[in-house]
């Protein structure tokens, strides 16, 4: 069972890196969603997969039975999903705003924050030097 998870984590991570390398922002966002999913599956696998028994304390018992599935990774993943959702929603709005402002989704074409430096123009020659050059 763990093998399936491991293969899934690898595939999703590879796909997300491929998406991150794209230059348009919606693809980068999809890459982030895929990476988040891969991470959640990795946490699940790290908590050991195996038991299918829901982690519920039996009536009358005071502790979880030893055969129950590990509830902690599920709690972690639930938190991570909620946080990831919030971050994705914000990033999506940012991309939409940026599209409105720049009319492009390609990050290559936007250099508002770090404008390319203007090439320095060669200084005009000093008059005395120019005369000497013309004489020669």
């Amino acid at each position: 069972m763990s093998t399936v998870f491991i293969v899934m984590v690898g595939t999703l991570t590879a796909a997300s890196i491929y998406m991150f390398l794209a230059r348009d922002l919606p693809r980068v966002l999809i890459g982030f969603v895929l990476l988040g999913t891969a991470t959640n599956l990795a946490i699940f696998a790290a908590g050991r997969v195996g038991s299918m028994m829901p982690p519920l304390v039996e009536p009358g018992a005071r502790i979880l039975s030893a055969e129950a599935a590990n509830p902690l990774p599920q709690a972690l993943i639930l938190t991570a999903i909620v946080i990831g959702f919030g971050l994705t929603a914000f990033a999506l709005m940012l991309v939409v705003k940026a599209y409105g402002a720049f009319a492009t989704i390609s990050i290559e074409e936007v250099d508002e924050a770090e404008p390319r430096p203007v090439e320095p123009q060669p200084e005009p020659l000093a008059p005395a030097f120019r005369q000497k050059q013309e004489a020669a």
Partner: protein, 507 residues
């Protein structure tokens, strides 16, 4: 007692909630914000007084015993960071009453600002690595909102660069937390510190350590993960840039110091050289980046990166003196760097621009501003008797004692280059005659001027105080460093003498 421990979390949470309730009424938000920042500083000072003898204060959330619930742990290092956070929150809260405050507050500055402080304080207080991740996210989402507050084109572009790189960084952090749990079966720092040396698969643990280093390094703007910082910080409005410069990268540094002195201390032989190389590369690239820029904000942004290198020397050498040097350096740097950003805002107000080429002649018209600039600028470069000198002295001395002579040499050379950048700002903005086609000063009233200059003067005074009265600050840093290196005391304080053992994980 338990209430005092969570006060640094509760106060900004309450402030964020209240200011959000009064969304359309900035005149109500401001007193709430100011009061919350002052209360935070007060609570943090009380915590510092309680921990100053090296005591470790612990409370368990919801009364769940240590490794099962979330522990809030405040030791001397946490308390120092909380005090400095409270101080910065207060300084920036006052400064934010300055020019353009109406527009900023209408856009939601106050709730976002206090959410950011909430995330920072939570990160400094928690004793649980997953909880640290959650606080990182609180801080991150608030910083996203603050960065693009004015929604200018420049901010949108800078915001995208900042958001994308930080999203990847935090996902790395989450992955590392998951893998760490898989290896040790626990998330509590104290429990991790106890179990980590006994983990069979030390290779996998070191890999998790590297993953954490990448995640925290992206947050702390270490070489080679610093690109988002100079791309984004200069686009933010000045109070936002000042609080970012003061706190955000330092939370990453705090996480590195905490995790690598506690959980990965037994791997110091492997991580030490890595940190040393990263620290030196960070110092050098940051200072060289600053040397080529002619915009005050960009120069200052690159200097943040450069200074982070000095703070890493502690975890690189792992001696009490080196860690004390890192702590002293963090305290000094936060005060000085925030002050320089506040000053950059004042310079813009007086001249009309951040571009050094277009401004000048400030010394003739505003000598007080010049003196106020020289204090943090010379302190940043490490000129005695200001605070930066002592920070650099301890860092370099710890390098010499550990026989890392080249590290000490590079740290000194970087100091000289820092002085070059600061003198560049001085020459261009203060000394040089005002260019003829220069921009005109921005209009502001007496109240806004007071709000701008009061925190600048207060922080400048603090820089001089640390410089002239170094003894108590150095003593408290050494105490905090020794407490950080005493892992057994931390474990005993959090888990108690007879710690319950978590169920063994069956592979």
């Amino acid at each position: 007692m338990a209430l005092l421990l969570v006060a640094p979390i509760l106060i900004p949470l309450l402030a964020a909630a209240l200011t959000a309730l009064f969304w359309h009424r900035p005149e109500v938000q401001r007193p709430i914000g100011l009061a919350a920042s002052a209360a935070l500083l007060g609570a943090a000072l009380m915590l510092l007084a309680r921990t100053s003898d090296g005591a470790i204060l612990v409370t368990q959330m919801g009364n769940w015993a240590a490794p099962f619930g979330i522990s809030i742990v405040i030791d001397l290092f946490s308390a120092i960071m909380l005090v400095i956070t409270g101080l910065m929150a207060l300084a920036v809260s006052i400064y934010a009453l300055g020019p353009a405050s109406i527009e900023r507050d209408r856009a939601g500055f106050q709730p976002l600002f206090h959410s950011l402080i909430l995330g920072v304080c939570g990160s400094f207080s928690t004793g649980d690595i997953f909880n640290l991740y959650v606080w990182f996210e609180v801080m991150l989402i608030a910083s996203f909102g603050l960065l693009v507050l004015e929604r200018t084109r420049e901010q949108l572009d800078g915001g995208i660069r900042y958001v994308v790189l930080n999203l990847i960084g935090t996902t790395m952090f989450l992955l590392a937390v998951g893998l760490l749990y898989g290896l040790t079966g626990t998330l509590n720092f104290a429990d991790l510190a106890r179990i980590a040396p006994k983990v069979e698969n030390q290779g996998a643990l070191a890999a998790v350590g590297m993953l954490l280093l990448v995640a925290f390094g992206a947050k702390a703007a270490l070489f080679p993960l610093f690109n988002w910082l100079p791309a984004a910080y200069h686009t933010a409005s000045m109070p936002v840039a000042a609080i970012f410069a003061a706190l955000l990268t330092k939370v990453g540094v705090y996480a590195i110091i905490r995790v690598f002195t506690l959980v990965f201390a037994h791997e110091a032989g492997f991580f030490g050289p890595v940190f040393l190389a990263v620290a030196v590369a960070t110092m050098v690239t940051g200072v060289l980046g600053a040397a080529m820029h002619y915009d005050i904000r960009k120069i200052l942004s690159f200097h943040i990166i450069s200074q982070i290198g000095y703070m890493l020397v502690g975890v690189a050498l792992m001696t009490p003196l080196a860690i004390a040097g890192s702590i002293l350096y963090i305290v000094h740097h936060i005060i000085v760097k925030a002050n320089l950003f506040l000053l950059a805002g004042a310079i813009r107000q007086e001249t009309g621009s951040f571009a050094l080429k277009r401004i000048g002649g400030l010394w003739a018209i505003k000598p007080l501003l010049g003196v106020m600039f020289l204090i943090p600028a010379l302190s940043l470069a490490g000129i005695p008797p200001l605070s930066g000198f002592w920070g650099k002295l301890v860092v370099i001395r710890s390098g010499l004692e550990a026989e890392a002579y080249w590290l000490a040499g590079i740290a000194l050379a970087v100091g000289v280059l820092t002085l070059y950048s600061m003198i560049k700002i001085w020459n261009e903005a203060f000394w040089k005659a005002l260019p003829e086609d220069g921009p005109s000063p921005l209009p502001w009233n007496a109240r806004e001027r007071l709000a701008t200059y009061a925190p600048i003067i207060a922080l400048g005074g603090l820089t001089i105080t640390i410089g002239l009265l170094t003894e108590p600050f150095a003593a408290i840093s050494i105490e905090a460093a020794e407490s950080l290196l005493d892992r057994q005391a931390y474990i005993a304080a959090v888990l108690g003498p007879d710690a319950p053992r978590l169920a063994e994980i069956k592979p």
